[in-house]
Amino acid sequence: MTLLEAPVTSLAQHRVRVRGVVQGVGFRPWIWRLAHEHGLRGWVRNDAEGVEILLQGEHAAIAAFALRLEHEAPPLARIDTLHWASQAPQAGLHDFAILASAHHGTARTLISHDSAVCPDCLAEIFDPNARRWRYAFSNCTHCGPRYTITRGIPYDRARTSMAAFPMCAACAAEYADPGDRRFHAEPIACPICGPRLGWLDAHGHAQDGTDALQAAVAALRAGAIVAIKGLGGFHLACDARNADAVQRLRQRKQREMKPFALMLANLHSIEPLALLDADERARLQSPERPIALLRKRGRVDALLPGVCDGMARLGVMLPYTPLHYLLFHEYAGRPAGSTWLDAFDSPALVMTSANPCGEPLVADNAEAVRRLGGIADALLVHDRAIVVRCDDSVLQHAGGQMQFVRRARGYVPRAIRLQADGPVVLAVGAHLKNTLCITRGDEAFISQHIGTLDNAATRAMFDEVAQHLLGLLQVQPVVLAHDLHPDFHSTRYAQTLAARLDVPCIAVQHHHAHIAAVAADHRHSGPLLGLALDGVGLGTDGGAWGGELLRIDGAHCERIDHLRALALPGGDRAAREPWRMAAAALAAMGHGDTIARRFAGQPQALAVQRWLTSGAAIPGSSSLGRWFDAAAGLLGICAVMDFEAEAAMRLEALALRHGPAQPWHDGFRITRDGLDLLPALQHLHSATDTAEAAARFHATLAAALVAWSLQAAQAHDLGVIALGGGCLLNTVLATMLRAQLAAHGLLVLEAQQVPPNDGGLSLGQAWVARQHPASIH
């Protein structure tokens, strides 16, 4: 990493090997400029391992170059390792050149993630005199599409979907000019040679001669639903302030309640809708441009009816492609220059992923017409193919901590550094919110969010993503890891592939994997206490786990204790119908005879009452998610869920609205059957003020979990606790747990680089598999 001893002669030659995110990010031209500035000779080139540099010149100049190399990398670049080798100076080196890519070596390089349009490119598209005025596909080495357009490595235009667009002379000149911002910008394009926008009616007929941007804005203004082709897939857009349009979108998308995310042109326009802290501002404006779930202001439900009613948070993002900016530019009346952007009072556009019926994002134009034609009134498309589908990333801040809710565009395929080297593992995740993870050396690569593996299209995408990532990383797995559940598609995929490759296949218990993901995230080694707060995952005893205290040490996992199990009257059905969990709680309290009366609106209420009071042995679950459902069901705030975790989210929103509250001191019991929360539910049972009850339930839950965890930490002599599982996305709970556990002297670890929910599971599976005896030779 650092430099050399004192030189014998003043002339020196070095070969420098650079690894990390160094291709397609303007790295070589930057090296070229540095070399020129320091009067150095030699060359720079890309190869499968990254970038290789040959430098020859005065020792002092090389030293100065080295310092800048370490500290001034271009915005999208990330240097992981630098290796310097001194060699004999040679004659005949008169210049510094950029050489063609070399195709040898073991692949170590990374494809960069997609990045929002940079200020320079933005200035050009708002400049009437620039040749890219209003051009929707502007990009440079500092910005633009990468992962979503790349078929393979090394990263060259020929291996991207830009291969279909031969460069014009002007673009070719920029591409070849080391002094240009677009030097070797593989997706370089302009209105002459690059992709173009198209405006299609719902039947897919091209409306030639219309200005697509103008038509799109006119349609949105008129309350139409427009499908817009983005970076990693299509969005469905409409005017969020137009309640009719929002309602129509809900009907056509069969998405009755699930909140919609918004796109606005600038922070200033977000402020009346949501609270923004400095972290959130920075995240929203970062080149990754995620959707941030912001704390909603009170008037939002009135201002934007139907967008996210009853939720505590509002999902918002800023524009990230030139196309998005140009839509707002059109709204603003095509002003010249960039100054309008911050002051503009932006329309709020609903921008929801176009993934009908829970299938993956629609990415192809023909498919968009076929599958979105019934939802959208028109389509704003273009002719640059999306090679890799990638959803918007979603994150939230709570108590000063950032959490991923969904990790995808902008963050994938960035590596997560592990604490040690290990074999190549392919971990396949679980069933819902599936991601997969491939480890190579001391790095873990987690795929973009793939979705729920209950339909053929998502399974096809799963296979596609696995093949694509293995191809980009140039590895073959030597170990496979999967969930313990025998009937997940991911499990069967792993078992089939392991048999074909003749490699070990390791089943990892769901909550072991949740905690392991946090340990991997923090490069933690050694034993720790795991508090898994989750929905249901299959336990090693065949039971439905989900509120667990685990002692975890690498591949070893011991179940210390669990939440008291609540009957699950109707398996997955009970997980979608909180009233059933409330019924189970009522039966457990001895009020089983009140179920039918209390849930008279439910056709199955009497049958459930009979079943729960018949003495039949109904399998139970220790899942905290189901306890949340029971609480929401008892408070009558959500009888049947329309989307996953809706009940818990509504409960959390009520608690947030109420503000801090005291726990019920008799709200829990630590018993031989585990941590019993029934006393807290007994309070809810008779509550009159639902917001206060929700707040006190959260406070009691936190107090209970803290007391329970501390007891276990003491008994097992553990000073580190990792929190994992989907319930950690409840910010009220997570904030209290974090603070109270830390106040008692425990080191608290939480998921930071991956979501705490099943989206991070594959990382945990890989981490466990790498430490499993079967994979250590």
Binding site: L432, N455, H485, A616
Partner: protein, 330 residues
């Protein structure tokens, strides 16, 4: 095997009991094996072990189930069932009254199906080493002269027919086991299908690719087997699948997918498109096929996926399960 005096006494009682209900000239030969007359066609042989709890359920019991199960395995092979053998594993102390009911039920099922029980065996195991009674039946049938039915014969474009409502047997068992006490009790569909299959073979035997009885694992398991064996995909249509309202309600209550629930008197048939209408009409004309329906088709699919178009307009996977339906929602 029990060597206690009680065990020996039980064996004697059991022998008398079986002779009373199931006795016929073949069984009475009393030799180590039964000599059967020659038949003209090819033989089809099948064997199946039957385990069920509870042993008695609305619409049947383990005795009738053991006869129907094996008769149906012959029937879906396009064969005419001729003879059965039965092996009993009894737990010591099993109530003779129950055994009497089971034997009587087997005898009735055999008579109704026109098959003869030609050999049998009984073993008694120690108390706690069995679960009441297990019955293994073996069936011999005569193949249809031109029968080419095979699980690997389904082709893209073919049609899938189902002879009636799904899930009746499994839900009859479940509601009994869970003590659900529905207002309308659910009856098992346990029945012998060879009469129906014979008519279908006569109607359009050459156009029938294959027949199956979707027992354990339900329609989902059966269709996945067919997809794998034939190297094809299957697309089912949820709206077309017949379901009894009480079965639908019970499935909803228990959170079960009727496609994974067992049937004991239903037939799945895959045929060429041109014969579908005639075969469906033949099914519907038969008492066991009155609710028959065309429930889907065979597709080209390298992944051999079985999918179902749902009533909401989506498309979901229909997976086979390795055991009980375990919760999946995290």
């Amino acid at each position: 095997l029990s060597h206690g005096g009680g065990g020996r006494a039980m064996v004697q009682l059991v022998r008398e009991l079986f002779a009373r209900h199931l006795g016929n000239t073949w069984l009475e030969q009393g030799n180590d094996g039964t000599v059967l007359p020659p038949i003209s066609g090819r033989l089809v042989l099948t064997t199946d072990s039957h385990v069920v709890a509870p042993l008695f359920f609305p619409g049947g019991d383990i005795g009738s189930l053991a006869v129907h199960g094996t008769v149906n395995d012959l029937a879906v092979m396009g064969a005419r069932p001729l003879w059965l053998t039965a092996g009993f594993i009894l737990e010591e102390g099993f109530p003779l009254g129950d055994l009497d009911r089971i034997a009587a039920s087997m005898a009735r099922a055999c008579a109704a199906a026109g098959v003869l029980l030609v050999a049998g065996d009984t073993k008694v195991v120690e108390h706690g080493k069995g679960d009441g009674v297990f019955i293994t039946t073996t069936g011999v049938g005569e193949a249809h002269p031109h029968c080419t039915l095979s699980g690997s014969a389904a082709r893209p474009g073919d049609v899938v027919l189902l002879s009636g409502t799904l899930g009746d047997h499994g839900m009859a068992i479940m509601s009994q086991r869970e003590n659900l006490g529905f207002d309308t009790p659910i009856e098992s569909d346990s029945a012998a299908l060879h009469g129906l299959t014979a008519q279908l073979m006569a109607c359009a035997g050459a156009d029938i690719r294959l027949m199956r009885d979707p027992t354990r694992g339900g329609l989902a398991a059966t269709m996945n087997e067919i997809a794998d064996q034939s190297g094809v995909g299957v697309l089912l249509d949820e709206a077309a699948i017949p379901l009894r309202p009480e079965v639908a309600a019970a499935c909803e209550l228990l959170g079960l997918d009727p496609l994974n629930v067992a049937n004991e008197g239903k037939l799945v048939l895959v045929c060429a498109e041109q014969a579908a209408t005639a075969l469906l009409a033949t099914m519907r004309a038969h008492p066991l096929g009155r609710a028959a329906a065309r429930i889907g088709g065979i597709t080209t699919d390298a992944n051999h996926f079985v999918q179902m178009r749902t009533q909401l307009g989506g498309c979901r996977m229909v997976d086979w399960l390795s055991g009980e339906q375990l919760p999946r929602i995290c």
